[in-house]
Amino acid sequence: MIAALVQKDVKLFFRNQFFALITAMGLVFYLLIYFLLPADVEETLPFAVFVEDMPADVALAEVPLGDGLAVSTFDSEESLIQALQNGDYMAGLVLSAETMAAIGQGEAATLNVYYAPGTPSEMRGAVDSMLGSALNAHMLPPDAAAAGIDRVTEVVGLNVDGPLSMRDRILPTLVLMILAIEVMGLATLIVEEIEHGTAQALLITPLGTGQFFASKAVMGMGLAFVQVFLIMLLSGGLLVAPLLVTLALLLGCLLITGFSFIIAAIARDMMSVIAWGMMGLIILVLPSLAIVFPTMGSGWMDYIPSHYLIDTLHRAINAGATLGDVTANLLTLLVIGAGTLVLGSMVLRRRFA
């Protein structure tokens, strides 16, 4: 009986070819966003250098310009300035023979640094600081000032090799966006059944409310799962940790199905579903912003249920987490998902009664 109901809902969904097409197009758009985002991170600043009368026996690597700069050399000052004006580089340094000689002999020197049009003042300050610091440290005696400070370093955070690209960061967010929008879809499906009276009509038949809810849960979870599974498969995220990602996606679908039930229980009509759904969407998406824009991260976001899904996916895809690393997250998702599903079913049952 549950299978028949799910079949009916799926048929209803796909009978509207336009709606089905738009759902498919939505998936394509999400994938498009993913593949349009940069796959690499620019770890260093492209930096142009022209050294006047560079002695043949001096390699540029011997001129200490700082670790954060990716140095390219130019044949003339004019070509360097042209490259800056074309926007190929943000900053460039012209080292005259006198400056090179002064630096070599440890004497005071002034460096001429050019900046491309539109370079923010903060970036100019940053490059000035990097160059000044690197060359001063090179020229000052080892025990002078900052050069002599013993830095005790420690690296914290996820077990990653280096900075993650925006593409890697956004993938869990795209999954969450699809799931959050699906909350509205499933809630709408239930509210429509109540509005049109078909739910009450169905319940007059031998069908029990439990079976009715089970069919809606299967339909909602199935529809959401197919979409997020495809996104993960086509983006390659699934290949990194197939079992763990699939398990997390299933539990994520359970969670959003529970939320859909609660929204359907409190919403009176379609507009009400959208209003509550939008509020839910904003709250559910918040933890993912802390991954895309880490500066927004805050401890209170850990209390939003979707954090456990997004954190699991992020760790599994981007930091090579194992099942043991994210067991607590998955258990929390299971408990909250099942809890919201039961709570939503209870409130909906009272509404039917």
């Binding site: 709606f19 300050g125 900052a146 400070i149 830095r151 507009m271 209003a275 880490p294 500066t295 927004m296």
Partner: protein
């Protein structure tokens, strides 16, 4: 067409709008977005490296760090709070300054500095933060720097801040929300509740109903467009021209909204269309956000001619001559939309007459 009836229908739309989700959304969302951009997003997209400091003593270096504009420094009350912030990536580098740090850098104590790095930090950000700390330490101990920098900014030195880059998105979203969503959702709602056919049994014609709904969209998006420009300090110096341009942009959006509402059967389909079409509608604003992209691409999208004249007048103080071509294209778009609506309108009037 009776103007009195359009006025009555317009007032009905405004009264009902007070309880309509899309109407409220169109009123609140632009203001909220403007505030978010002003308060958060400028900072969020900033490429300035972020440093966290826990100062167990009272180091003078901390005040110097806070004064630097090329790094963003946050002072934490405890080492654990700093460590948590670095672990989350809220700051890229954390410095733990011992109580005797200033004495240490002057050579009076053990010269040690604990530095916590976020695993995902960029090399350039770490280099900027470390070099800034080194420079400030040198200043604090009054060591004379042998190297000085002479900076030259090429070109006119115009910087495009993220707030400026995001303004087109907010302006276009405001025009689209008020101009497209409100009339379209109202029309779809009337269809679903079957009040549209009921209305046309009265002396009011379908054209008057559509006109009233379009008028609501025009008024709402023009007013909200003005509010958003004022909130973002982008009102410019030509109020009459700006109002005209905003009005024309709002007219095009509203006619498109009515056209969409008349074609779409229910709210689900409308939302699906908006969801899938949003990228196309917003494309000119998104392209403008990335100055490195060839900007001519934006001109392919019709909404470019809705957005560009508004931004040219409000941000660049361009006169009528400078936006004449855009306005001609915009008027042509409005003409095409009206033509499409007239063709559709005749068919729908017949259908409604049959239903009645």
């Amino acid at each position: 067409m009776n103007l009195g009836r359009i006025g009555t229908l317009f007032m009905k739309e405004i009264r009902q709008g007070a309880t309509n989700f899309f109407f409220i959304y169109a009123l609140i969302m632009p203001v909220v977005l403007s505030l978010i951009v002003a308060l958060v997003f400028g900072d969020l997209f900033s490429e300035t490296p972020r440093l966290g400091v826990y100062d167990a003593g009272e180091s003078e270096v901390v005040a110097s760090l806070l004064a630097e504009d090329h790094i963003q420094t946050t002072v934490y009350a405890s080492e654990s709070a700093l460590r948590d912030a670095v672990e989350r990536g809220v700051v890229m580098v954390g410095l733990v300054l011992a109580p005797d740090f200033d004495a240490a850098i002057r050579g009076d104590a053990q010269r040690q500095l604990t530095v916590i790095y976020w695993a995902e930090s960029l090399a350039k950000d770490i280099a900027i933060i470390n070099s800034t700390v080194d420079q400030l330490v040198m200043q604090a101990v009054e060591v004379e720097a042998p190297v000085t920098i002479n900076s030259t900014q090429l070109g006119d030195g115009v910087e495009i801040s993220w707030t400026e880059r995001l303004l087109p998105v907010i302006v276009l979203m405001t025009l689209m929300l008020g101009g497209i969503m409100v009339p379209a959702a109202s029309l779809v709602d009337e269809k679903q509740k079957r009040t549209l056919s009921a209305l046309t049994i009265t002396p009011a014609t379908l054209l008057e109903v559509y006109s009233a709904k379009a008028l609501v969209g025009v008024v709402l998006s023009t007013i909200m467009g003005l509010i958003v420009l004022i909130l973002n300090n982008a009102f410019g110096g030509q109020p009459a021209l700006l109002l005209t341009v905003l009005g024309l942009s709002a007219v095009s959006a509203s006619i498109f909204g009515v056209l969409l509402g008349s074609l779409v059967k229910d709210i689900n389909v409308l939302l699906a269309v908006i969801k899938s079409g949003a990228l196309i509608l917003m494309a000119p604003a998104l392209i403008r956000m990335v100055p490195d992209l060839p900007q001519w691409i934006a001109q392919v999208f019709p909404t470019y001619y809705v957005l560009n004249p508004v931004l040219e007048v409000s941000q660049n103080n361009t006169g009528l001559d400078g936006i004449a071509v855009d306005l001609v294209v915009l008027v042509a778009i409005i003409g095409a939309l009206v033509l499409a609506l007239v063709l559709l309108f005749e068919r729908q009037q017949k259908q409604l007459a049959l239903m009645s």
